[in-house]
């Protein structure tokens, strides 16, 4: 009997391994192609590249304009995440620990905002942004990201903060601390784990977005990295290795973040599920 269970476990492990390979293979294939010369690619696209050469990466980075797109993405995502965490933690603290007129309604409002997808509001939003002169500007894209991911951020921060014991806050209050003092001196330091995991997830969302960036940043020099990848396809339709290198440039930061912060990402994803 024991033996039967063991064998069946190994039998299940086989298709799971195949699936795991299917999960990794696309990335490996692209990396391999990015390392080939164009001639090598045309002759044989599957065999492992004979030498690791970075010419394609350099080409995509400089001639393909990925350098500019990379910086655009970095700036926009960085500012957006800082703002998201600031607004999200302030609101999360207020909603989880202070009782005031309208707190319930505001919390439900944030929850409802979670279920309004961007596609539903994108036409009027872009129009509003255009009226305010914010289309094709960095602040405009940052604002669009903040508006898009704020409900999620507030929700995660509020659910994390609701686990902070009330006694800690009451004690600080009796010592004469104002709510602002409590926020600054207690909630921010205590919230670091949640700020980290929520921030990473927000950063991934913003970094990976293409629809909002397409709508908000029409001019080529303002493209974010993901929009840049889509434009690179037209530019290098005949030079697949260089194109693959461009894809790699956009994927590597995500890969690094994933390898370092895997646990935090999973925590943020599941926090929404278990507490909701």
């Amino acid at each position: 009997m024991m033996r039967g269970v063991r064998t069946s476990r190994w039998l299940i492990a086989i298709p799971m391994t195949v699936l795991a390979l299917a999960t990794i293979y696309p990335m490996l294939f692209t990396t391999n192609v990015a390392m080939k010369t164009q001639r090598e690619y045309i002759l044989d696209r599957f065999s492992p590249s004979r030498s690791v050469q970075w010419d394609n990466v350099t080409t995509a980075w400089t001639n393909g304009g990925m350098a500019q797109y990379f910086i655009n993405s970095l700036v926009v995502v960085g500012v957006a995440v800082v703002l998201l965490l600031l607004l999200g933690s302030m609101a999360g603290f207020a909603l989880s620990h202070i009782r005031f007129r309208g707190s319930r309604a505001l919390f439900l409002g944030c929850l409802a905002a979670l279920f309004v997808p961007f596609q539903v509001i994108m036409v009027p939003l872009v129009r509003t942004m255009a009226d305010a002169g914010l289309v094709d500007t960095y602040p405009g894209l940052v604002l669009a990201y903040v508006a898009q991911f704020l409900p999620f951020t507030i929700y995660l921060m509020a659910s994390y903060y609701s686990g902070v014991p009330r006694e800690i806050i009451d004690a600080a209050r009796i010592d004469g601390s104002s709510f602002y003092g409590v926020y600054r001196r207690i909630m921010v330091p205590l919230g670091v784990p949640a700020l980290l995991s929520t921030g990473i997830l927000d950063a991934l969302f913003c970094w990976n977005d293409v629809l909002i960036a397409l709508l908000m940043m029409p001019s080529p020099e303002h493209r974010t990295l993901m929009v840049g990848v889509t434009s690179l396809r037209g530019q290098y339709s005949n030079d697949i290795p260089a194109f693959s290198a461009g894809v790699l440039i956009a994927a590597v930061p995500v890969l690094l973040v994933y390898l370092i912060f895997q646990r935090q990402i999973a925590d943020a994803v599941t926090a929404g599920a278990t507490k909701g």
């Binding site: 069946s8 492990a13 799971m16 391994t17 795991a20 999960t23 990794i24 293979y25 696309p26 990335m27 294939f29 607004l87 302030m90 609101a91 207020a94 989880s96 202070i98 009782r99 707190s103 319930r104 919390f107 309004v116 997808p117 596609q119 539903v120 994108m122 036409v123 009027p124 129009r127 604002l143 903040v146 508006a147 929700y155 659910s159 994390y160 609701s162 806050i169 009796i174 709510f179 602002y180 970094w207 990976n208 293409v210 629809l211 397409l214 709508l215 993901m226 990848v229 889509t230 396809r233 697949i240 956009a250 994927a251 995500v254 895997q262 990402i265 994803v269 599941t270 599920a273 507490k275």
Partner: protein
Amino acid sequence: VPFPGSPPSVRSACAGRTEGAPASTPSPVKQAATRRRRIGREHLAPYVLLAPAVLVLVLLRLWPLLLGVNFSLTGDGERNGTPVGLSNYVELFRDPLFGTALRNVALLVLLLPVAVAIPGLLATFIFLRVPGHRFFRSVYFFPAVLSPVIVGTIFNLLLGADGPLNAAFEAIGLPPVDWLGEEEVAIFVVVAVHVWATFGMSLVVFLSGFATLDTNLLDAARSDGASTPQVIWHVIIPGLSRTIQFVFVTTMIGMLTSMFGLLFVMTAGGPGGSTYLPEYYIWIQQGQMNRPALASAASTVLFLVMLVVGLAQIALLRRGMREE
């Protein structure tokens, strides 16, 4: 649900201070004044803390939502701004492309159980400690952090006429397939790629659900001689009802709102408009056709579809769980 459930920091803390204050300082009048000012300021604290977030949400989410519904009732082009009643909606439902988009939504709803079952089953095996479960867990989750744009471009290479998949087909003697060029096939390919790219998210959610499962129950079932399928059916599925419900709803929302990147990169709605989804239709009407009012009407329909599908799912699943 995290909620400002417990009482009142504002009042109790202020009361505490009132008791302590008079003993220490010489000027009670001045003290009282500061205290009043302070209490006044403290009353405002939650509103001050929330103000920036609420401002952003009202201006950039709530206001556009209302504006959009209103906007869908006005005209495009020359009739810009003039009310046209429901004519945008009439045009929308006469447009065969939007019809295809809605038909594809129905297809997604039909495929939904598969998209939920795959991560559910894999999570079950990982939970039951299949050899190498840690490795599987971290590998499967990886595509979930990649952008649809990256995933789409990579799969364009893989699915190309001379790409690895067709090479594998050739090796086992099958004819090559034009994966993204045939109307009957393309939408399934795109959905499959979407599932490949997102099942890791649901997998992690399922695994966190397993962590809350009562292990005593599992052990009891095991020692009673229940087989693995029996354990899954009678212990795990009922025990995970809330998680399953959550995954159903989030997977549906994901399918309806985060396939734009894939469609944009892989098919651009084609071939022959066969891979249109409402979100892609909205984008085309807004960005390419310069029909923002028509796009707004499509947005409103998408919103209603999501509302109906979401509520129906929750109702169905609730009833299913009760019958268990």
